[in-house]
Symmetry: C2
Subunit: 196 residues, 2 copies
DNA sequence: TATAAATGTCAGTGACTACTGACATTTTGT
DNA sequence: ACAAAATGTCAGTAGTCACTGACATTTATA
């Protein structure tokens, strides 16, 4: 979080990201963003031309787009509890890295951010495929019983998506429940539900 | 949805609700709202004075604040699958009734809507209590095994919260997965995980 | 039909805001 | 130390938007 040695462009992008995630695109002025970045408004426009292009640049710069598939192909060990832990933690890691992006795409409607939503939805979709196939494979190996692997994978993801959304921003509906014990519980639940 | 015989005030409130939920408070103009309601901008201001007060009035008018507790006290039959179905469907019903409200409180930051968020969070908190106590009671009756009832209740709710959020608006990350089969699956999962 | 209440029209005001140009100042690389 | 690049200052423009006042028109009601 040391801004001092960052380039002006990056300072502006970060400030824009934070402020827009917090107050929405229309809720922040270019002056606010520039001031938060410790720069003049003029510099903002010299770098990015328009407010729109600033947002787009921030998105391009700070959206983590690594492929999840490779990440799992090598790490799965075909032990249900270990693998579900890997999936959960990886999921929350990626979602947290993209936290600001997700906040923004939640607040703004599609018109203003072309292709924005498509990109924030890439990971969840990948994850569903991976987890579904994992359940099928585990079923073949006789390590779990599964009637509808896709729905079960979906349920698992929705659980963590819900928990992530609940954590997002300040508006926590359920204070006092930490993420780590929840992850543990979710895994135990599925382990028990799927045991042969 | 027949606007023709509604009073002007209600027409404006509904239009405001829809538009603000869609485009955010700062993304809609008072002229847009009035036009959508089939009325003049002047009428809007004559009724509500300011744009802020319009939003507040819309919130007061269309936020469903029934108590969940009574709703369940009478209906629970102490059969896990039946009761979980009741809980799920009731949850989705209430969330869907408050859909627009939830969309708005997601888009706007707390500063603009005092006490807004507190009210949208009332239901979820009530539900957690109810479900936790239900699990404890069911455990006493020997009908389920439960190690950590609050975390399990939380997990169940997060699952449905996630599914609801995923359904919200247009930005469905997982098309092709219906809500009803998901509800069924979620119940079966918990039934299997909690069976003695 | 007479009267009052609700709504419309229209022109306008003041505040805000994205964005620009001209010019001065600072920072950086060599 | 020098030139070039980056940044700041400041005044200003054009557009938008919440909100108002004066007056006309419609609608409801008795």
């Amino acid at each position: 979080m040391d801004n001092s040695k960052m380039g002006s462009g990056d300072k502006l992008l970060l400030a824009a990201l934070h402020l827009i995630a917090e107050k929405g695109y229309n809720g922040v002025t270019t002056l606010e963003i520039a001031t938060a970045a410790g720069l003049s408004e003029k510099t903002l426009f010299r770098h990015f031309g328009t407010k729109q292009k600033l947002l787009e640049a921030a998105f391009d710069r700070y959206h983590y787009a690594e492929e999840m598939k490779k990440l799992f192909a090598e790490k799965l060990v075909w032990d249900l509890e270990k693998d579900l832990l890997l999936v959960s933690t990886t999921y929350h890691e990626i979602m947290n890295r993209n936290r600001k992006m997700i906040q923004i795409s939640l607040k703004e409607d599609e018109g203003q951010l072309p292709g924005f939503r498509a990109r924030t939805q890439k990971h969840p979709q990948q994850l569903l495929e991976i987890l579904t196939n994992y359940f099928i494979e585990m079923s073949h190996k006789g390590k779990i019983v599964t009637s509808n692997p896709e729905l079960q994978a979906f349920s698992f993801i929705m659980m963590h998506f819900g928990a992530f959304m609940n954590d997002l921003d300040q508006h926590k509906s359920y204070p006092g429940i930490g993420l780590t014990p929840f992850v543990q519980e979710s895994i135990q639940l599925f382990a028990r539900a799927l045991r042969p």
